[in-house]
């Protein structure tokens, strides 16, 4: 490797690290992303300098390939609506995993993996890259609600998983031993290259099987984990190719991605092990006894508007995924402005699982013009509820369900930290129906007719009507 290229890779690594550092604070995050992108440009240019190409058409094809992928990537990134952002990240992660698995396959095909370290690293790259590719595509189809929605389980799933895993180990050993292993078991001779193709296919199947039993609510964590996987695969390929850019960049993502996954699962109150082994521990979730014909306080927009304008001074709004689906960010912003113009204090309590990814709801609200210093995290908003006059919950249920903290109930959301809206003086739900949310757990707050007002409406329409009511009150 040329000295210049090596140094350029180091510069790129420094820029990646600086970029990630700046991404930890909202004020510097955007520049952090730009810095990391700049590092990528440097790494690519340095690579062009070091590769030895004998024909012009090779350069041409490299250019065409980058242009094609770049246009596809930029166009989808530009056109994707912000509500569909989680699946976009999944898709980009998937193509990265696919890319690196193909790179490793070509390496083997060319016979470039000579030492045992290179062979092992190459095998890891193929397996992890393929699992990441297939898993991300499944995550994409789940979030886009194309296929595999919910938790898909079938009989003997665990047995199949175990068999494929053993098969992958066996094939890997066979590649390492130059084809001697499969023959020793009594099967016909399998050349290392053919073993590798089967290994590739088996890893793809494993990736699909890994993700299909996991429910949609846990997808963000799965995507983050697969993101770390792709980083790890990139690092492994750095060992094969002896390339420091791949090694450092991949390792950074593998490590920081792992920590990020843990942070996320902590914030969501979902232990990582429980999610990963969903297929193994999956049982039919207890839907709980359906509460029928219980009385609720069915409020009109006028009533809600009147209470807000006359009696409430401090108001906390809790937005949920229903808000995103109804595209009600705009009316939500109007409500904030209207209430503030009357001298009221309006805060937003954002639960980590609001939306479909941590931070997703923040993006949607800031898109609608809500300043981000009004968005409070779980830990910061909960003490505020004590002197809150009205908590308005829009299109959410699970994240404010006190049943999660009830030690006598065993529900799918037990132990999840919630927004303690029940401490507020009045609770207002803007919700289409009484149906329990994603997790299927009934919310006792609905039936507290003294405290709770239920405004049964589509989030967008309901909020617009409340804004009108406040204005005319």
């Amino acid at each position: 490797m040329q000295v210049a290229t090596f140094l350029a890779y180091l510069v790129a690594a420094v820029l990646f690290i600086t970029g990630i550092r700046r991404l930890r604070k909202p004020g510097t995050a955007r520049s952090g992303n730009t810095i990391a992108a700049f590092g990528m440009v440097i790494a690519l240019v340095a690579t062009f300098l070091v590769v030895e190409v004998d024909a012009a058409w090779v350069w041409l094809l490299i250019g065409v390939g980058i242009l094609l992928g770049g246009v596809l990537g930029a166009a989808s990134a530009q056109m994707v609506p912000m509500t569909a952002m989680p699946q976009m990240v999944a898709a980009f992660n998937g193509v990265g995993g696919g890319c690196i698995a193909l790179v490793a396959l070509s390496e083997f095909y060319q016979g470039a993996a000579e030492t045992w370290v290179a062979v092992i690293s190459g095998l890891l790259t193929v397996v992890i890259g393929s699992v990441s590719f297939a898993g991300s595509i499944v995550a994409f189809t789940k979030l886009q609600e194309l296929a595999f929605t919910g938790s898909v389980v079938f009989p003997l799933q665990q047995v199949l998983n175990a068999l494929i895993f053993v098969g992958i180990l066996l094939l890997s050993a066979n590649v390492l031993a130059d084809g001697a292993i499969v023959e020793a078991v009594g099967a016909p001779f399998l050349s290392p290259l053919v073993s590798l193709y089967i290994l590739f296919a088996a890893s793809l199947v494993l990736g699909v099987l890994f993700v299909i039993p996991i429910g949609g609510a846990d997808m963000p964590i799965v995507i983050s984990l697969l993101n770390a996987f792709t980083g790890l695969a990139a690092a492994a390929s750095g060992f094969v190719l002896g390339n420091y850019a791949l090694l450092i960049g991949g390792t950074l993502v593998g490590a920081s991605g792992t920590i990020l996954t843990r942070l996320m699962s902590g914030a969501l109150g979902r232990p990582l092990g429980k999610i990963i082994f969903a297929g193994i521990t999956a049982t039919a979730t207890q839907k709980g006894d359906q509460q029928e014909d219980r009385e609720v306080h069915d409020a009109s927009p006028g009533e809600v508007g009147e209470y807000l304008s006359e009696e409430a001074n401090k108001i906390v709004i809790v937005p949920g995924y229903g808000l995103a689906v109804a595209q009600a960010q705009g009316p939500m912003h109007d409500l904030m402005e209207t209430l503030e113009s009357r001298g009221k204090e309006v805060l937003f309590g954002i639960h980590p699982v609001a939306g479909r990814m941590p931070g997703h709801m923040n993006v949607l609200l800031t898109e609608a013009g809500v300043p981000y210093d009004k968005l409070y995290d779980l830990e910061d908003i909960n003490p505020e509820f004590d002197d809150t006059d009205a908590a308005i919950i829009v299109g959410a249920n699970d994240v404010v369900n006190p049943a999660a903290n009830d030690p006598e109930q065993d529900t799918p959301i037990s132990g999840m930290p919630i927004l303690e809206v029940e401490k507020a003086k009045r609770v207002i739900f803007v919700k289409r129906s009484l149906s329990p949310g994603f997790a299927g757990v009934d919310n006792p707050l609905f039936y507290d007719t003294e405290k709770t007002m239920m405004l049964f409406s589509d989030a967008k329409q309901g909020l617009q009507e409340v804004v009108e009511a406040v204005k005319s009150a």
Partner: protein, 101 residues
């Protein structure tokens, strides 16, 4: 052998650096951070270019070309979508208010 040891040292140091970098990040930034690191592992494009440049048979040319397209999607799409996400975090309104008052 010496090169391998150097690689191993870099791997371990980079891993610890990665662990330390992400200590306490506000929930607000989890998704952008995931998206940006997702773009950074688009460095796999470097691997795709290296493999493609040395390709001398149809298999490697075809597979390498696909890898380049996928890698470029990862890099450019990844940074682009992260930039779009972060573009929505506007500076706090407080400052504007102060200027007005």
């Amino acid at each position: 052998m010496e090169q391998l040891l150097v690689q191993l040292a870099i791997f371990i140091i980079a891993a610890f650096l990665g662990f330390e970098l992400i200590s306490r990040v506000p929930n607000l930034l989890h998704t952008p951070l995931m998206s940006a690191t997702n773009a950074i592992h688009g460095i796999v494009l470097v691997g795709a270019i290296i493999v493609f440049a040395t390709a001398d048979d149809t298999f490697t040319i075809v597979v390498g070309f696909i890898a380049i397209v996928l890698g470029a999607m990862n890099v450019i799409g990844g940074f682009w979508v992260t930039n779009r996400m972060l573009g929505m975090f506007r500076p706090p309104v407080k400052r504007v208010r102060k200027r007005k008052g």
